[in-house]
């Protein structure tokens, strides 16, 4: 039997990703079990689901280890891998923003220190603004950096803004809107065209239905 392998980003997106699969008729009961398993088979749909950490999804797709993946646009922009990006799933919507301490400003800063999980996006964004920066790569809890004086500002994703507020930070500038995308390996889109296309069509219909409801 020919499988379609799909990589899902664990973390904030996972629940919505599973909901999407369920809505297009995939039996997701195996996925919701609280096991530590990372690879699941759903033979009824010829689907093999692999749970990955979000930044690993583009890598697995690029190397063709999985045929497709679901991952946030933030991760795609940061990595710029060679992939087909075919559907905006409109899930996990949030903004990529620059934030700093309430009362602070970026104006007139000759050398801005930026803490972020997205060094490449930050580098490009500030280069476009012709602002010279020092990027400080973070792995998590980026909000700490300005509070403790490691950086002047942060560039991070903002969903509700609650974490920022709780830490006395405010959004200074919005960089862009972010949502989850369906990405495809460049070769398997061709070699498994019919199967992949059918799946994309079902996903597209579902995405349209959902955004109509909203």
């Amino acid at each position: 039997m020919e499988w379609i392998k799909i990589g899902l980003a664990k973390g904030r997106l996972l629940e919505e990703e599973i909901k999407l699969l369920r809505n297009i008729g995939v039996d997701c009961s195996v996925l919701t079990s609280k096991s530590r398993q990372l690879v699941f088979e759903i033979p009824e749909n010829n689907l093999q689901v692999v749970m990955l950490k979000a930044p690993d999804v583009p890598t697995y797709v690029e190397h063709g280890i999985v045929d497709m993946g679901i991952v946030g646009k933030d991760v795609l922009l940061e990595q710029e891998k060679q992939l087909y990006e075919v559907v905006d799933l409109r899930l996990g919507k949030c903004r990529l923003s620059v934030a700093g301490k309430d009362g602070d400003t970026m104006e007139g800063k000759k050398h801005l220190r930026v803490a972020t999980k997205y060094p490449n996006i930050a580098k490009r964004y500030f280069a476009e603004k012709v602002q010279s920066v020092e990027i400080i790569k973070q792995e998590g809890s980026v909000e700490l950096a300005p509070i403790l004086g490691l950086s002047d500002v942060i560039l991070d994703i903002v969903e509700t803004g609650n974490t920022l507020r709780a830490n006395g930070l405010i959004v200074m500038e919005d960089v862009m809107e972010i949502s989850a995308r369906l990405v495809l390996n460049k070769v398997s889109y061709k070699t498994k065209k019919d199967m992949v296309r059918k799946l994309i069509e079902r996903i597209n219909t579902e995405v349209d239905k959902q955004s109509f409801n909203v």
């Binding site: 890598t59 063709g64 992939l83 087909y84 990006e85 075919v86 070769v187 398997s188 061709k190």
Partner: protein
Amino acid sequence: MVSKKVLLPEGVQDLLIDDCIYRRKIENQLSSYFMKSGYMEVSSPTLEYYDLFSYEYLSKYGDKMFKLIDTNGSLMVLRPDCTIPIARMVATKMKDFIYPLKLCYIQNVFRMDQEQSGRKREYRQAGVELFGVESLNADVEVIITAIESLLELGLKDFQIEIGQIKIIKHLLRNINLPEEKEEKILLAMANKNLILLEREVDALEIDEATAIILKKLPTLFGDVDKVLEEVELLPLNKDMKAAVVELKSVCNIIKECGYGSFITVDFGMVAHLGYYTGITFKGYTKELGAVVLSGGRYNKLMETYGMECPATGFAIIVNKVTKALKLQGCQVKKAEKHYLIVAPQSKYKEAFQLSAELRKSGNIVEISLLDKGEEGDYCSRRNVDEVIYIDHEDKKLVEAL
């Protein structure tokens, strides 16, 4: 810190015995097939001047080249590509050769790719370049050569996907966009990002027909007949229609040669617009999620080196095709017999004569360098087929293993 004495730089690798046997076999098959088709081998140096490459090429790939400084301060690079140095070679040294000029090569290329991305920084390309033919006969010839090379290697179920870059070129020439906009649209097309493409195209002030074609092109891929049918429904102008006819004719001739099952088309193949000028193609297999060969027509490149000459060609990525073959379970069969001759020192001459005789008929023959009785382990680990013992009376005892 761990000593660099024992480590390898990222993206390069040692090939141990079996890897070398495999690689040599593949390369021998390829080069012998290229030669049988009339291609002549050339080899360019590993080092080239940075300035060899055009501004456009450098702005895209300049930071991916390995650079060295010459003693006089000039910037040099490790060969990042095989075609450009060969184009230089042809334009500067082979102008007065007889054309069509058919060249082939097997060389390493070096590219400084993203670190820790699992990509190689040194790999081998085997390919052909065909200079001096404007007509589609050359496009047909190189694609068929590509198909037959892969078949020669024993690769099965592969696909050669053919594109035609002229259509997008005509479109872009007609609407004359600012560079930045053009890049965005091409990137969206190349990534089959239909959402972004639609948004970008709708924001342009262009005629409806162009907008329709731009949005539709990346969806036009797959089965040759089906896609060509769809393409013919588009509001194409005269030039674009001619470009489609060209692609169609190429596909038809390939089909007539019996290779129709290997080809598909993709009108969304729009990468390397500054380099390619016509029919382009890529090859891949189901098992391996990567391109094993790519090529196409590059009629403008030779102008950079002061010679007007149409050209086309392709390169097989040897590591990738090796991987694809292994995934399909294709193995190297050992054709020869492996002998070990065990003889006392006094009979070395006899052992030597026997080895020479056996080698003549194509066998692998070794004279044991171990003391008699110690050869057992060696034979089993090296897969020796037969041991020949010569004793003091010159009697031979053959033991098959």
